[in-house]
Symmetry: D2
Subunit: 341 residues, 4 copies
Amino acid sequence: MISFMSDYTKGACPQILQKLIAINDEHMAGYSMDVYCASAKEKIQVACQKENADVFFLSGGTQTNQNVISALLDSYEGVICASSGHINVHEAGAIELTGHKVLSLPSHGGKLCAEETEKYLSDFHADENRDHAVYPGMVYISHPTEYGTLYTKKELSALYAVCRTYNIPLYIDGARLGYGLSADGTDLSLPEIADLCDAFYIGGTKVGALLGEAVVFPKGNAPKHFFTRIKQHGALLAKSWILGVQFDTLFTDDLYFKIARHAVLMANKMREGFFQKGYAFLVETTANQIFVVLENEKMKALQKEVAFELWEKVDENHSAVRFCTSWATKEEEVESLLALL
Amino acid sequence: MISFMSDYTKGACPQILQKLIAINDEHMAGYSMDVYCASAKEKIQVACQKENADVFFLSGGTQTNQNVISALLDSYEGVICASSGHINVHEAGAIELTGHKVLSLPSHGGKLCAEETEKYLSDFHADENRDHAVYPGMVYISHPTEYGTLYTKKELSALYAVCRTYNIPLYIDGARLGYGLSADGTDLSLPEIADLCDAFYIGGTKVGALLGEAVVFPKGNAPKHFFTRIKQHGALLAKSWILGVQFDTLFTDDLYFKIARHAVLMANKMREGFFQKGYAFLVETTANQIFVVLENEKMKALQKEVAFELWEKVDENHSAVRFCTSWATKEEEVESLLALL
Amino acid sequence: MISFMSDYTKGACPQILQKLIAINDEHMAGYSMDVYCASAKEKIQVACQKENADVFFLSGGTQTNQNVISALLDSYEGVICASSGHINVHEAGAIELTGHKVLSLPSHGGKLCAEETEKYLSDFHADENRDHAVYPGMVYISHPTEYGTLYTKKELSALYAVCRTYNIPLYIDGARLGYGLSADGTDLSLPEIADLCDAFYIGGTKVGALLGEAVVFPKGNAPKHFFTRIKQHGALLAKSWILGVQFDTLFTDDLYFKIARHAVLMANKMREGFFQKGYAFLVETTANQIFVVLENEKMKALQKEVAFELWEKVDENHSAVRFCTSWATKEEEVESLLALL
Amino acid sequence: MISFMSDYTKGACPQILQKLIAINDEHMAGYSMDVYCASAKEKIQVACQKENADVFFLSGGTQTNQNVISALLDSYEGVICASSGHINVHEAGAIELTGHKVLSLPSHGGKLCAEETEKYLSDFHADENRDHAVYPGMVYISHPTEYGTLYTKKELSALYAVCRTYNIPLYIDGARLGYGLSADGTDLSLPEIADLCDAFYIGGTKVGALLGEAVVFPKGNAPKHFFTRIKQHGALLAKSWILGVQFDTLFTDDLYFKIARHAVLMANKMREGFFQKGYAFLVETTANQIFVVLENEKMKALQKEVAFELWEKVDENHSAVRFCTSWATKEEEVESLLALL
């Protein structure tokens, strides 16, 4: 069966597997002290145009969010995010487990609004009783968001300016960052992402790797002893080089961007197909996720031949569903889907 | 350079890499809902002779210890372990991070003594002020231990009997379990391990896998919602099948035990070599770790040609060092080492 | 200056001080093992008509909420409450500090709606991805609420029925319970409160005591080793008898209810006064808190002679303010206030 | 029955009760914003000769240790203490609950040795694998210790010098500080205590107050937002002035030192009596705790007429027991005890 269920349903891009085989018989230093982690770090510094960036390799998105957020917050602080933010709804309370409140603000197609964030912070600090409340200690956004949408450079700059004003870090969850950077019309590049936040991660699991996320503190501003914090959270792999070698491969010859662009092209073709056939979209997107409104009957019929995710009920007779492309999507799969519409 | 630094310095055994390649283009269900996790679970149940065992796949040892221990303890309880236990000294406080005290008892070559454990528990419950202290809520041991030693069936049975008497679970850290089960003279099999504890894990990272540990609750006694707990700890991989497929491969045709036995044979050869040349051992071992006492001069000379770990100072002129074999050790590497003695 | 700022602005009712003096030279057992804690427990059991109730004495409301909620929840669970709930907004993240998410639902004048709670629980359990979310593990309400409102017997019964259906405990924050039970028109008595929940606390700090809250598990259902949990949270007083003796006094000859009724009568007089003079109320209340809408000019004038709390802005020219009566309010204070209107 | 069970078995010294009565009808600001907390803070600054000291008032010792230690440590750090330290054995895991390991070193009559502490720190930082271990982030001592012993100025200076060298704070648990400062032969004054540490608390619960401990950060070095941290830990009393007024009274006209000296004089008399009759002491003490070795028969006989604590078994026929004097001990009580020997 064809599947557009998610962007993590297949293994790794072939270059990665080849590299893993090629180095399989080398003795490696453990715990990220190996040459591949070092090389991947350098290549990511170059790609970000931040030669002093600190870079760490972790295994998955929730783990990364948990490690970064708990390290950036002081114990009496919480993290601001959109109500639809992954940390607020789909991480089983991983942030609260570390003792911090998630402070949710309205979601605008998955995005936080700079003005609303400013107002929240301004109201908080004007409140006489703020010392009895949770201090807003950082801002979390995802790019692309959980709704597949993208911040514009102007929006991200405005949000970062608010964070600078209140002296709190901005952190970007980039589980699908490659797809966002490769979308048509985006005006944000990787160096600009690195400029406009205090921490972010470059998603590997959903963009061609077997597993792995690269955390970047672009200004060399990693929290003190971040290595030990990772260990303490059970997030340090003995064979960390399997993360390093994957990112080293992805950041060689622009592989990361090439495979991400492929996914976007496949999504563009799919989007155009839905549009041509008159389908409505739940939200406008340009990266690798497409949210389409289907009649329930049509949805059930399609489900027999194609895997995709039911996103939410729209009304009694309609549902919004999500189709995801990935680095592994084949053009004929998209064509098969469109033929079924 | 030859390396006996550890058992995690090389990638994965070839069968695993081949399998990862073979399935790379299949669409998989995420989050351990795939066919390989299911198949691996079944094979492990069979190998343990525990058809109702609950089995979960995690990424590394510290993560596994943290998830299992925090799930087995109530909030006012701590975990008993030998003072040399991995959770007490080399996990950066991962257990305390979850709110629990590590209650250390004397280490006998890395092992806990059943009688001392019984006395600790008996004294605790006889103490009028115990309600102001940390309740001992479980026992943690490693097998093989951090000193490469093994419990006998009698020792493990005695310890488990103590745990049964006080109604607290016994948990075995099996990071190197394969090597322990394959050692000459051990009288413990995998089904017996499964009989004589309430939870244990079968180490993959150090025994042939790229990464991965299989947690087994042999009596079908997994803590409630253990899946969600794993997610909450940031320990759930989207592509969990890369763990499942590795254990599925390791538990096909006894691969796990074959590669472990190979490591033991290499260690036996090395042990015999050291013995023949009159070297003293820090501790007697039969599995894949060998602790040898070297003159400091000899140690420095060797370090130029062989990688191994400095374990501890013995006296001004002598040091104890560790040599580790693994599934990947080659006979000629052992011979080269012996030739240097 | 007259003050209606809160119900905790004066010390203790005279009977309590007298008792503290009377027993000051007795040797007491520490840590709540004394005769006064035992006697207070018995009297509370009688007042609740629950002879097997477990009763514990703590120092303050946030501490009590933190201890009870963290003991009732499993680690993967969160607590449902109204968005205006004290634990959600004014406890500095005390619940999240213990690792649990506060799951906020709409506030209706401070109250949770049984139907909305049922829908939330029902939707949660119908969600295929619930294992990636925070399990709703209990329900928290306050009675009176932070808006001074009261649940009716019908409303509380409906909410408790929902909790029973989903097998999760209902916990009532009774910081001002006495005032709620003494309000005109309430159809809930203390024994009914004890029937219709799994845990609640009887507020002392705001109802006549120097400090202290009595936690009641009405069905003898205290969490295992709750005493040790209290100690572990730093919430156990060496001289716990100073809490016991206060509740022993408050539950002798109905003192608790007599002083609470006095506060309600004072509030009734004040309410009637505001009503007669045509003031609007932010919310209708019957216990000891009154929320009045004032023109900003009027508010500023009043503030020169009376202390009260600014609650929230209503519009450019109006503010809602709170007046609180207490066991210590004097009738002439109310009259002085009314004379100023 | 006469009781020397502990120093917390009676209420408050009369001056405190009188003051509580005197102010009972004043309207007070809540949450430590009142005039008595402010006045007590000033008097403590004067008594410590530290005009910029930060001072906070908490309810009990375990709570104070938990709040101070968790605020002073970063998440990857633990606290060094003597194995007999209160936080290590009698606080039910309150420190671990906040995520931190207690790193225990040998106890010398309850005291930490500066040289051993230096060696521990030096070894830690020399260890190549320290990033996999818990960082020693502060040192905790009690003065007097749990064995009633006192640091000399030389010992405390040496320990503080070690902390300065490694740039970690030294914190002193002063649950019985008054008795220590009033002991014969001590060469440490309150200003010197304030000089020779980074944080300490002045115990009230055991030295004349109903409840309460005054935390002092002598160099104005309170952790950021310590007030909110206290609130978040459930440790902030609404009526905090009942703590403030007690310390205000204790630090007026040297009351704190006068009542402490009385307890020491009573202990001196008791010590002399035991000595005269030939009893052996478990440990030499000069403050308010006396540890005497009794034959078991004698102990049982005494227990019929006097309350005291069984401390530990010495051998088959002997036990060490503790007698505690306090601000409330009467001379005739001591005489009655001595008459029974």
